[in-house]
């Protein structure tokens, strides 16, 4: 598999949210606006790339039996670093993402890539894979956040699109599920079209 394919697979074909259905908790929980979605996506990308690098570097030093606990420690460390750095330099975003920052550690996407990809490939591929998957995740979260923000508040990235309050339900919890449902369906259709060609 070429590096380009390795990079782009995360956007449509193997999109972590729309196809693999991984990391749905943050995908639903923080996407009340496109900005929050993007922020969460980039934070996860940072953790994903960093832990992929470390895991691919130490993969030969770790005995198979303690592989998973070691990976958990590596991931949890990067999550805590993200947590501290965000609180220091982006307090507003830190406050709106709240509980979901420490919960990056149990995002199945991060553990999944460390275990399934980084532990079997060289560092360079692991970096590309981390960026591809992370940006695919960010793409999905920004899409969902944008959809909910446009329909629910009539805004995008805080820019007002039309007057009035919009359909409030899309900002609230049910809108997250319904919005994601339709985006997954849309991705299914796009993916099928691409494959048929």
């Amino acid at each position: 598999m070429g590096q380009l394919q390795n990079f782009t697979k995360g956007f449509v074909k193997d999109n972590p949210v729309f196809v693999l259905l991984l990391g749905l908790c943050p995908a639903l929980g923080v996407t009340t606006s496109a900005f929050n979605g993007l922020g969460m996506g980039l934070a996860t990308t940072f953790v994903l790339v960093s832990s992929n690098i470390v895991v691919s570097l130490i993969k030969n030093l770790i005995p198979a039996k303690v592989r998973i606990p070691s990976y958990i420690v590596v991931i949890a460390s990067f999550v805590t670093i993200t947590d501290l750095v965000m609180e220091a330099y982006m307090p507003a975003l830190f406050e709106s993402l709240g509980l979901f920052i420490p919960l990056i550690v149990v995002n199945c996407l991060v553990m999944g890539r460390a275990e399934a990809f980084a532990s079997k490939n060289n560092t360079w591929s692991a970096i590309v894979d981390g960026f591809g998957m992370g940006l695919g995740f960010s793409f999905a979260l920004t899409m969902l956040g944008g959809l909910r923000e446009i329909l629910g508040a009539g805004e995008i990235f805080g820019w007002s699109l039309f007057a009035g309050d919009g359909m409030l339900v899309f900002v609230l919890a049910p809108g997250a599920f319904i919005g994601l449902g339709y985006l997954v369906a849309l991705n299914n259709i796009v993916k099928e079209r691409l494959e048929r060609r």
Partner: protein, 188 residues
């Protein structure tokens, strides 16, 4: 095997301790900046602040009073207050009171209310909290209309509106209770 795990854990802890020490200062600075900004928003121009703290009549934690002076004259106080009545978790707010106890303005510091409903207490999200400007708790009732007060509630988020009133009322009641202390300390 155990050794490897211990090395991994030790490296991780060491890295985290380093990052923690590096970010400790900036985190405190960011928090202080939010606080200062809030004080600036609820009080008119001042050139000196003096911090005090008082226990409220109800509630477990003391409130932070920032007495503001301009050219030596007492012009108002910014009270950092809280409520436990929020829909999800504690709400904290900064309330600006004039020396005679009228509300100058209110701004939220921290909350976890539902986005789209309860977050209308934020100044950037809605002008709901503007109704507190110039509100006189001595004359009017600091409660939502549903509870027989003079504050308009938030549609579909009564709990949040009620809680916000509770936080502001806590600031006012404490101000009233310790009024003489505050007035006397002001010229020291």
């Amino acid at each position: 095997m155990v050794l490897t795990l211990m090395i991994v854990a030790a490296t991780a802890s060491f890295t985290l301790a380093t990052v923690y020490n590096l970010t400790k200062e900036p985190i405190l600075r960011a928090r202080e900046a939010t606080r200062q900004e809030a004080i600036g928003m609820v009080l008119p121009g001042f050139d000196e602040l003096r911090a005090m703290s008082f226990m409220p009549p109800t509630g477990s934690d003391s409130l932070e009073f920032n007495l503001a002076f301009k050219d030596g004259a007492f012009i108002g106080v910014a009270v950092g207050t809280y409520t436990g009545m929020g829909y999800s978790g504690r709400i904290r707010a900064m309330v600006g009171l004039s020396p005679d106890g009228k509300i100058i303005d209110v701004v939220h510091l921290e909350h976890a209310e539902t986005p789209g409903l309860g977050d209308k207490i934020e100044k950037g999200k809605s002008d709901w909290s503007d109704q507190f400007q110039g509100f006189d708790p001595g004359e009017q009732v600091l409660r939502v209309r549903q509870d027989g007060g003079d504050i308009d509630g938030i549609t579909a988020a009564t709990i949040t509106a009620r809680a916000y009133c509770d936080a502001i009322d806590r600031a006012y009641q404490t101000f009233k209770k310790h009024h003489s202390d505050i007035i006397n300390k002001k010229t020291e």
